[in-house]
């Protein structure tokens, strides 16, 4: 057991991480034939709490999505377990990325997440609202528009050679490059 915890507490090479993510596909398919896809949970939650009259949200969300929402609950728990017991704070960013992010005025150590995400000065600033509220809105609206996110399209969809998923992933990168090269540098100037 201690050996397992020690192993889980070391940084993982990328090929270990990639393999562990891929395992989720057979873990879901071979138990109950389920697909891997996280963002459809946003639809399930909306259907559960505010369906209104929208046809898109009027379906049996318990039947369709309670299993997936259970995974989501587990993901929160897993995040907590990993952050408390498995020492995630040894991130070795490349020199290029460290320099870039320092240039934006953001401190990097070997922490996993930037400190500003918990600083009230940031959260109550215009850039904080743009990053979290606009960013969140785009995640919800965009993943539903594209009918999937990184898990459903980039991992499961590409693994099954789905052309729509490839198109979606091209979109992810167009949007991501715009955000990371143009929007964030402007925001962090203020």
């Amino acid at each position: 057991m201690q050996g397992l915890i020690d192993w889980l507490s070391q940084p993982w090479p990328w090929y270990v991480s990639g393999f562990m993510i891929a395992l989720l596909i057979p873990l879901l398919a071979l138990y109950e034939g389920k697909p891997f896809g996280v963002s459809r949970n946003f639809r399930h939650i909306c259907a559960a709490i505010l369906p209104g009259k929208d046809a898109y949200l009027r379906y049996d969300w318990k039947q369709e999505g309670l299993w997936n929402l259970t995974i989501l609950l587990g993901a929160v728990l897993g995040g907590w377990v990993a952050s408390v017991y498995f020492n995630p704070h040894q991130v070795q960013l490349s020199a290029g990325a460290t320099q870039l992010i320092a240039h934006w005025g953001i401190k990097t150590g070997n922490e996993l997440s930037p400190a500003f995400l918990l600083e009230t000065d940031f959260l109550f600033s215009i850039k904080g609202v743009l990053v979290l509220v606009l960013g969140g809105f785009l995640i919800g609206f965009g993943t539903r528009y594209a009918n999937g996110c990184t898990s459903g399209h980039a991992i499961a969809g590409l693994s099954n050679f789905q052309l729509p998923s490839l198109v979606a992933v091209v979109g992810f990168f167009i949007g991501g490059l715009l955000g990371s090269w143009f929007v964030l540098p402007i925001l962090f100037k203020f």
């Binding site: 889980l8 891929a22 896809g37 909306c46 929208d54 898109y56 952050s83 490059l177």
Partner: protein, 148 residues
């Protein structure tokens, strides 16, 4: 069979989620820094992860199809097909671009948003609420946006 029971089923999905949370953390895919590094092509790390995941994912998917694998409940596994959208798959490109922008800003895709709440990054709940509003707005205009 015990592994087909309702209780086991919920425990199973919960544990798959816990595993997902641990893997997202240890892969550092939850890191805002790693996402910026990826979009600036400053490290192979994230590309290696996604590449390996798709490689093994494709192998597993191929094997399940090739051998007509059955799940625990005896049904043949059918990997999900993504429905084409028009000639250019427009919804996937437009929606994907909008999501990509949100991914870069928050440094988190939908899974990691929830995993980060578990890390104590409580501001991610703001992202979740905003994403639900985005979902609601999409639902309102679903017919006009993608037809049907």
């Amino acid at each position: 069979m015990w592994y087909k029971s309702s209780v086991f089923r919920w425990v199973y999905y919960l544990l798959v989620g816990v595993w997902f949370g641990i893997v997202m953390t240890k892969s550092e895919a939850v890191s805002w820094f790693r996402i910026q590094e990826m979009f600036h092509f400053q490290s192979f790390h994230m590309y290696g992860i996604i590449g390996t995941a798709v490689g093994f994912g494709a192998l597993f998917t191929f094997l399940m199809k090739r051998f007509k694998a059955k799940d625990v409940f005896g049904n043949v596994v059918v990997p999900e097909q993504k429905v084409r959208h028009g000639r250019f798959n427009a919804r996937y490109l437009i929606g994907g671009t909008l999501f990509g922008l949100g991914w870069a800003l928050t440094g988190a895709c939908p899974g990691p948003v929830f995993v980060l709440v578990g890390h104590g990054i409580w501001s991610m709940t703001i992202v979740i609420v905003s994403a639900l509003i985005g979902t609601k707005v999409f639902a309102r205009f679903h017919g006009q946006l993608v037809g049907g």
